[in-house]
Symmetry: C2
């Protein structure tokens, strides 16, 4: 079990990414757990400076895809880009997990095209988890596919359900559909048809959920089309930033307030796992935010290991196989 | 200029609504400013108890549409419902403004069907305003029409622009389109076509805006399809509630923190105007939340007066007339 780490994605590459790997090596990871893709000399000097003699294998490249490049165009133009070499190495069986910071579209496209989909799954989904004291949930798709079909949404639910069993230790995760009303007849034909698919399934489907109930602990898996999921996620991000800014503007007298306030906002911190989770492809992939620092990289590394150890993808495969047959015969 | 007030909508009807009207009368409103629709005897006793001798005209009814009733069905089944009688009185010229708490769908349908649209405007929009220290903005549509056409979205921008000129005192309001990416090619064909309509117009169109930039002061008017607008609004609501709940759970030692925290959340309080603004119909209508208390009712009353005094609808009519002709001839 090895994790490929793209050293060249994101705003703080390769420094913060290398720091994250170094932290992992100082903790309970060993060099054999990693395959690094990036500038060989810089990486070797870095570990030397850090006093880490025993270092992971490195695949050298100094080509990268920037955050603002068009994914497909950039992937074609740069066959030696770090993300492409990382995926190629995974295809060759050299790693099963991937941590990449930066251009989300390029990471999704490279993984999907290079590694293929899990058998039975039609489309990948970007998932984000909100892990809180009282309740955790996974929201997917957060933007991989803004115009999905009902079956894609159904399979997002299937993947999220396997994920929630393994990662949240939920026996029978509650699956909900993000919509603008609670009735089955609400929303677009896409959402209405998806509602029907879930209602006819054996999943613990709790119906539509509205945006104001995301955090009220009513569902463990929240299925959304990529447009709505992305919008919801960004609205939360923006509102948290706005409040955080308001807190920063407090006078120095309010230092305690400021600290407590930020810890409250932290309660809804979806970056705990270090990034967005790509589900549906034939590998375990975390795509971190471009602005990720070492601690986010370390979290992502830990999370990829957890997913691999708990067998999330195997469980998705089993569930997909069950649902490719008529529901009655497979689940009764 | 008279404002019809539906006394029977919402969770706290008629008590809190009457209290709001009483507060208005004790401030700078006179009985002639109001037309009340609701239970006559209860209303008369209420004002007597409050020591207000000179009271507004009352149209009696004790029929109402509850928040969970299906709007069109309920409107047909209950011709004497307070919202229907209010709209009928407005149609007869007895009032120009309307404040209604409760069933939003019923208020939208009754107003649209009973009063008609402003000339040149195809569809009504529900607008919400966020009025903050640093910057204010209006978001529309927040749910009147989940499946609009590009022209409808364009006209939401037109209405929002007139509104922002009048209410935010913006000379040249910046109009943006809610989307999941900044490029013109992002989002559905609906959003792409709307982007083109705005780009070809004389509006101060600043392009697409993503959910994480709603609060960053980049736009004064944010145009959304009813699904996205409703989702964004509810996500904000839900996240604010979640944080508010977290603040309430703080220990008593943190009382100051709790108070400050709530005032921070209040910075994004879109209920300052007392409810959602219905734009596009041939009247000035505010639809309050079902849980509105007296202060929200008073805010709504004040806001309807402000809209009437500043002539928002007249300015929408002028703008719609200008845009019904070719842009070149009307705006050069």
């Amino acid at each position: 079990m090895r994790i490929a780490v793209d050293l060249l994605g994101g705003d703080h590459a390769p420094g913060e990414i290398l720091l994250g790997v170094a932290d992992a090596l100082r903790a309970d990871f060993s060099p054999e757990d990693f395959l690094l893709i990036g500038p060989k000399e810089i990486t070797e000097s870095f570990f030397k400076e850090q006093g880490i003699p025993d270092i992971p294998e490195i695949i050298h490249t100094d080509v990268f895809i920037a955050g603002d490049e068009k994914p497909i165009v950039a992937l074609r133009a740069k066959p030696k880009a770090s993300i492409s070499l990382a995926v190629k190495a995974m295809k060759d069986g050299k790693a099963q997990g991937l941590v990449a910071m930066g251009n989300t579209g390029a990471a999704v496209a490279a993984s999907t095209m290079g590694l293929g989909m899990l058998k039975g799954i039609r489309r990948p989904a970007i998932a984000v988890t909100f892990r809180m004291a009282e309740n955790s949930f996974i929201l997917l798709d957060a933007g991989a596919n803004p115009t999905p079909k009902p079956l894609h949404l159904f399979q997002y639910g299937l993947m999220g359900e396997s994920f929630a069993r393994d990662i949240f230790d939920q026996d029978r995760p509650r699956v909900a559909l993000l919509n603008i009303g609670s009735e089955a007849s609400k929303g677009s034909p896409l959402l209405q048809e998806t509602h029907q698919l879930f209602s006819d399934s054996d999943f613990n489907f709790v119906g539509n959920i509205e945006g104001n109930h995301l955090f009220s602990g009513e569902a463990d898996v929240i299925v959304a089309d990529g447009f709505s999921g992305n919008l919801a996620l960004k609205v939360i991000e923006g509102f948290a930033e706005f409040l955080g800014q308001a807190a920063r503007n407090l006078s120095d007298d309010d230092k305690n307030l400021r600290a407590s306030f930020r810890s409250l906002l932290g309660a809804a911190d979806y970056s705990e796992v270090g990034g967005a989770i790509l589900l549906g492809v034939n590998a375990t992939v975390i795509i971190g935010h471009g602005r990720s620092r070492a601690n986010a990289v370390l979290s992502a590394i830990r999370f990829v290991r957890e997913e691999l150890q708990k067998g999330v993808n195997q469980h998705i495969l089993q569930s997909a196989a069950a649902y490719s047959e008529p529901a009655q015969s497979s689940h009764d």
